[in-house]
């Protein structure tokens, strides 16, 4: 393979854009340089010569000397326009914009096909961790059962600061923003929407399932209650914001983002601060775990760099599993989950009839109100009480499962693959 030199048209010079510039400076081995940078604010001081900057996107998109567009802005709608036009102009694109990707994935896949131009986005899921590349390449022929992970760095940073260091929620959030981990709009992080956008990407590369973010249930950490936190502590469990996608019998995929109780023996219990972690379970390789920084200037830029490097030798996503796994579909009503629901107010209570089984409940002026039960994933997503003030939902420490298994004994949390062959 012949490596090519590349000249980059860079959109955005914020946390990640500046990180990429710094990283490229120290990576002479990759023959890539930034030719021009488009930014928005005419009044901001810049650390690089003014002639490198422009405020007109066409200066980059129409410049034939720029081979690759790297899109690192914090506006998903504008990013979509930029990326689409770049692909149509035959310019390869690298982006970290999970919101834009999740909202337009089917069209962006089709655009890659029709234009023959690659779009890479390793930095958009788990920053430094090569999860897209691994799901795309490595499990190609393996029978993947599940992907579960902590895939939003800011919320994990906040949860760690609250639980390990005893910081109040607001302080922890402010610090995550100061350190450059949080999205410009922190609601994306704390409401679980950023994790949901990434889950859309994982679903496409893990299972070949292309779905819109709005089809996935996401509950964030913004309304975690003191009662839920106390329950977790009492049980010796950690609350983590976990995104999970799991293949259930009959070609059903269940997927959701939920605050989840995690046992100390679970790999995700060891994911601290802004780190991300992903556990994959597959038929032959069995259980694997990847841990690395999920946010920040350099870790995110390093993934952009790795995509740039991959472009220099012709790498592109093939989305093989979209064909391979055409028999799979998202069916929240065929899946169920065990949850703890806490609620403050007698007016805002969960509707018991939504639950398949209610295992335990308490209403106490002194100790608080809660309900532990099994509920269909679709039912939970539709529940109006889910978004009422003072209502907090936390998944118990067990995986999403098929609804038929509902009543009766709880399934074992982990199934271990036993080698059938021994010497």
């Amino acid at each position: 393979m012949i490596r090519t030199n590349i000249t980059i048209g860079l959109f955005g010079f914020g946390v990640v854009g500046q990180g990429l510039h710094a990283v490229l400076e120290r990576t002479p081995g990759l023959r890539a340089r930034i030719g021009r940078i488009a930014v928005k604010d005419r009044n901001k001081a810049r650390s690089l010569p003014a002639e490198l900057f422009t405020f007109d996107k066409q200066d980059l998109l129409d410049d034939p000397s720029l081979d690759v567009i790297v899109e690192l802005i914090d506006n998903a709608d504008e990013a979509y326009i930029i990326v689409k036009q770049a692909l149509l102009n035959g310019k390869a694109v690298v982006t970290a914009n999970k919101k834009m990707l999740a909202e337009h994935l089917p069209e962006l896949i089709e655009l890659q096909r029709s234009t023959g131009t690659p779009l890479l986005y390793e930095a958009a899921a788990c920053a430094s961790l090569p999860v897209i590349r691994n799901l795309e390449e490595y499990y190609d022929t393996d029978l993947l059962d599940s992907v579960e992970g902590i895939i939003n760095g800011s919320t994990n940073y906040i949860l760690t600061a609250m639980n390990r260091d005893g910081q109040p929620y607001a302080d922890a959030l402010a610090k995550a923003q100061r350190l450059g981990f949080a999205e410009s709009n922190p609601a994306l992080d704390v409401e679980g929407l950023d994790a949901r956008n990434k889950l859309v990407l994982l679903l496409a590369h893990a299972f070949g399932l292309v779905t819109g973010p709005e089809e996935l249930l996401a509950v964030g950490i913004d309304c975690l209650s003191p009662l839920a936190t106390a329950y977790a502590r009492e049980q010796g469990l950690a609350i983590k914001l976990v995104a999970e996608a799991r293949r259930l019998p009959n070609g059903i995929i269940a997927a959701a983002v939920l605050p989840t109780l995690v046992a100390p023996s679970h790999e995700l219990a060891n994911v601290h601060d802004e780190f991300n972690g992903l556990v994959t379970q597959s038929g032959f390789a069995d259980r694997q775990f990847f841990l690395g920084r999920g946010a920040g200037a350099f870790p995110t830029a390093s993934a952009v760099l790795s995509d740039l490097s991959a472009l220099t030798y012709g790498y592109r996503y093939e989305y093989k599993k979209i064909q391979q796994n055409a028999h799979l579909s998202l069916a929240p009503d065929a899946a169920e989950v065990d949850v703890l629901v806490t609620f403050e107010d007698e007016a805002n209570v969960p509707d018991e009839s939504d639950f398949t089984v209610v295992h335990e409940q308490l209403r106490s002026a002194q100790r608080g109100n809660y309900l532990i039960g099994t509920i269909g994933l679709g039912q939970l997503a539709r529940a109006t009480w889910l978004r009422l003030p003072g209502v907090c939902v936390v998944r118990l420490a067990c995986p999403l499962r098929a609804a038929s298994q509902a009543v009766g004994a709880r399934p074992a949390i982990e199934t271990e693959l036993v080698n059938e062959i021994s010497r």
Copy 2:
């Protein structure tokens, strides 16, 4: 990219060979089938029709209908002859034979270049974990500082059985053999030689450093003493067999396989049973950790499968770093390490003058004899007392470091990359 169908000539039908057959049966998506199998023992019963088998290697190597040779035998010398001839015959090769690879790597890299035929070996390091592929592809342009890992499944299985489950060494080893984790010759595992062979592969793909196994110090777990085990327990540390390669200042690479004390907060402390784990530390991505099964029929076969899949779309190792990092060299005399040495016999004692600093020592008929000190890595490798009966060497819980840092304060165990850029 156009995927091709492949017909496999398979050498070996033991643990991994049978695993591969089973895995291929259940992976119709990969258009690969086994055309012929070469084995050794004419009297062994086989689970497949007799006409599939042959005892003559030329039946596979000279058969033009076989595109890919998969080499899964337990004899490194014969494997070398097979792999070499296959490449010369223009047949792509997938192998899991780390011993063969480590002993012939320079020639095998040159053969790939001169014949233009690929040789892939993901299964040879950390079985199911895609470490070679990630080191080769992902860190291409990143500044890798270190790779440290538990890369031998059998010894980790044995250490786990001994320490967590209180099993005696011999029982634990026998069980690892029964489960198919151990090499046919268990000395390769317990003497640290298998890990050393894998370290040769990691060095090539992480740092572009191609070296022979005999140039690397390897100490195994076969002579761990009760005193060392007690010391570890007292300090709340686990003894793990750790392979480490680290870039020190001035282009020096230090690398060794040593039983090592691991703190509970270290990622490798959570690697149990036959799992393998690898921690990489790099300039921008910072710290990453990969965990997965390091041995066994299916996990190993899954890595072979992933290589087969990669072959169908033209993947090959490029060994880019061999050019990029020509300025790096292995220099054990420029590195040093802190060790605990225990010894049983007054005749077999470590030579104090070999140590840069002796921090502590005890000779007690009742409590036993030990010495804790700092020693040059080259000096330790040359020490005649290292291999004397009753002598046990365990590395303390700190990384390999440059010899100049020797005297004085111990360096901090972890250096954290601090983001220089914030919003």
